[in-house]
C-alpha cells in the first residue's frame, strides 16, 4: 500500500509538472486569445471550450459525425497508446491534433535511424533519444493543450495494470504476439476497449477488441498463438512506411469514433479490416465472430486473472514461443567472421538471405540460394555448391537452419556458418559493408 501511494504521488507530481509546462508554454506563445477573450466573451457566456479551442478544432467540430459534443468527449478522454513506432506515431499525431485531453505513451525503445521512414514523430535530431521523449516533444509542438504522459518502460506483467488503469481506451500499436496477448488480457480485466492495428510488408489489419466489454477480444479471435516461425516482424520482413502509417491513421479514426460514441453496444459489429497496398490498394472489412463463450479471459468461464498475470504465472513469451535457431553445434559447426577471413581456403560461400536482401549488398564471390528455396529444392539444384561450404545470412540465425538442412538432407559434411552474419562482418571486418 505504502509503495503504491508513493507511486501515485510521483505520478501526480509528473502530471502537475506537465500541466505547469503546458501552461507556461501557453503564456509564452504570443496569441491573440487573451485579447479576444476579454473583448468578445461576455462573462455570462459559459463556454465549454476556450476561444483558441474553437478555432483549433472548428474544422472537425462542424462535421456532423463529431460536433461540439464529440469535441468535449475527446477533451475529457484519456487514451493510452502502447508503442510509439510505425502505428503509434501517426495515431498519436492525429489524436493529439484532434484534442484528446490526455494521451499516454508506452515505449521503452530509443529512436534508430531505421525507424524514420515510417515513425513520423521522430527525426534525425531525435535519433538515440527515448521514443517517448521524442514523441512528446513533437506532440507538444503540435498541440500544447494536450497532456502527454510518458511511460518509458517495456510493458510487462508487473506494470501493465498500473500503467493502463487510469485510461479510458487503449491503442495496441505493439509488434509481437506476446505483447498483444498481454495488452489484451490487462485491458479485458480492467474493462477497457482496445483499438488494435498491425502490419508488415504491404499489408495491415485493424480491429476493435473488447468493445465496451461486450465485443470479442484478441483471445476470442486467436485462442492459440501462431507458430513462432510464421511470425514476421517489420525488422525482418520489412514494411512500406505509408502502409503501416495508414493503419495507424485508421486506428486514430476508430479511437475518435469510440470516444465520441459512434459505436454503441447495440450497433457494434465485430470486424477485422484488411488493408492491402498492392497490387491495387484495397480495404476489405470482414464480419467477425462475437465473444467466445470459452474465452480464457473475457468469457463468463474465464480462468485468467489479474493475479495470474501480475505474479508471472502467465508467461507470455513461453506461451507464444520463439524459433530455435541454435540447431547446430555452437562450438564445432560455426565460425566467427574473423576466423573466416584468416582461412587459407575460403571454399564456397553460400548466402541464404532472401533475394531482395542479396540484391542490396553481398560479399564478392558469394552464391545466393535463399533459405526458403533451399528448403524446397532437390539435390540436383545444388550442383554448384562444393566443400568446404560456408554459410552466411544477415544475423547468423537462418544460416544455422540452412547448415542443418544441407548436412541432414543433402549430405554435406564440411559445412560451417558465420556467427553474427553480415552484420558482424560489417562491424568487425569491413565497416564499408552496408548494414540495413
Amino acid at each position: 500500500m505504502r509503495e503504491k501511494s508513493i507511486n501515485d504521488l510521483a505520478k501526480e507530481l509528473e502530471l502537475l509538472k506537465l500541466e505547469n509546462r503546458r501552461l507556461s508554454e501557453l503564456i509564452a506563445t504570443p496569441t491573440v486569445t487573451s485579447r479576444e477573450t476579454s473583448q468578445e466573451t461576455t462573462p455570462d457566456l459559459d463556454l465549454p471550450l476556450s476561444l483558441d479551442e474553437y478555432k483549433r478544432y472548428g474544422r472537425q467540430m462542424i462535421v456532423p459525425q463529431l460536433r461540439l459534443n464529440g469535441q468535449l468527449k475527446l477533451k475529457s478522454a484519456k487514451i493510452l497508446v502502447v508503442g510509439a513506432g510505425g502505428l503509434g506515431c501517426p495515431a498519436l499525431y492525429y489524436l493529439c491534433g484532434a484534442g484528446v485531453g490526455t494521451i499516454g505513451i508506452v515505449d521503452h525503445d530509443t529512436v534508430d535511424i531505421s525507424n524514420l521512414h515510417r515513425q513520423i514523430l521522430h527525426s534525425n535530431k531525435t535519433v538515440g533519444m527515448l521514443k517517448c521523449d521524442s514523441a512528446q516533444k513533437k506532440l507538444n509542438e503540435l498541440n500544447p493543450l494536450v497532456i502527454i504522459i510518458t511511460h518509458p518502460v517495456a510493458i510487462a506483467n508487473d506494470n501493465v495494470f498500473e500503467i493502463m488503469k487510469d485510461y479510458d481506451l487503449v491503442l495496441d500499436c505493439t509488434d509481437t504476439p506476446a505483447t498483444r496477448y498481454l495488452v489484451n488480457d490487462a485491458a479485458v480485466i480492467l474493462g477497457k476497449t482496445i483499438v488494435s492495428g498491425s502490419g508488415v510488408k504491404t499489408e495491415g489489419q485493424l480491429s476493435i477488441l473488447n468493445f465496451s466489454q461486450t465485443g470479442p477480444c484478441y483471445r476470442c479471435f486467436y485462442p492459440s498463438p501462431p507458430p513462432p516461425n510464421s511470425v514476421t516482424a517489420c525488422s525482418d520482413g520489412g514494411v512500406i512506411g505509408p502502409i503501416i502509417g495508414l493503419v495507424g491513421t485508421m486506428m486514430a479514426i476508430e479511437a475518435i469514433k469510440v470516444v465520441t460514441g459512434s459505436y454503441t453496444v447495440e450497433s457494434f459489429q465485430p470486424f477485422l479490416s484488411l488493408y492491402s497496398g498492392y497490387p491495387q490498394q484495397s480495404l476489405r472489412t470482414f464480419k467477425m465472430r462475437g465473444k467466445s463463450p470459452k474465452c480464457a479471459v473475457c468469457s463468463t468461464n474465464a480462468t485468467l486473472t489479474r493475479d495470474m498475470v501480475e505474479s508471472g504465472a502467465i508467461d507470455y513469451s513461453a506461451f507464444c514461443g520463439k524459433v530455435d535457431y541454435n540447431v547446430v553445434d555452437q562450438r564445432t559447426e560455426r565460425i566467427t567472421v574473423s576466423e573466416y577471413t584468416s582461412l587459407e581456403t575460403k571454399g564456397c560461400l553460400l548466402d541464404v538471405r532472401p533475394k531482395e536482401q542479396f540484391e542490396i549488398c553481398s560479399l564478392p564471390g558469394s552464391v545466393s540460394i535463399p533459405l526458403a528455396q533451399l528448403q524446397r529444392c532437390h539435390s540436383e539444384d545444388l550442383k554448384g555448391l562444393y566443400e568446404p561450404l560456408y554459410i552466411v545470412c544477415r544475423y547468423g540465425n537462418d544460416s544455422q537452419l540452412a547448415a542443418r538442412e544441407l548436412r541432414n538432407k543433402f549430405g554435406f559434411e564440411k559445412v560451417k556458418d558465420l556467427i553474427g552474419g553480415l552484420n558482424a562482418w560489417s562491424q568487425e571486418i569491413d565497416d564499408t559493408f552496408p548494414r540495413y
Binding site: D175, S198, V200, Q205, F221, R289
Partner: protein, 74 residues
C-alpha cells in the same frame, strides 16, 4: 476451384492439401494436422468462418473463400 456437390469446407482444405501444396514447408504454414493452423483467418464470403459452421460449412456455387494470416508487426 471445382468441387463436387454437397462438399464442405473441410473437403476444400484437404483438396488444397492434396492438389495445390507441393512441399512439407508449405503444408505446415497452412494446416496443423488436418485443421487450419493457428494464426490463419478463414473467411467465407468476407465473413468469419466461425459464424458459418467452420469446417462443416456446405460450399455453395461461387463462394469466395479467403485464407489470410494474422499480422503482428507494428
Amino acid at each position: 476451384m471445382v468441387m463436387a456437390d454437397g462438399q464442405v469446407l473441410k473437403d476444400l482444405l484437404l483438396q488444397i492439401r492434396d492438389t495445390l501444396i507441393k512441399t512439407p514447408q508449405d503444408l505446415e504454414v497452412f494446416l496443423e494436422g488436418e485443421s487450419i493452423r493457428p494464426g490463419i483467418i478463414v473467411l467465407i464470403n468476407d465473413t468469419d468462418w466461425e459464424l458459418e459452421g467452420e469446417e462443416m460449412y456446405e460450399l455453395q456455387n461461387r463462394d469466395l473463400i479467403t485464407f489470410t494470416s494474422t499480422l503482428h508487426g507494428g
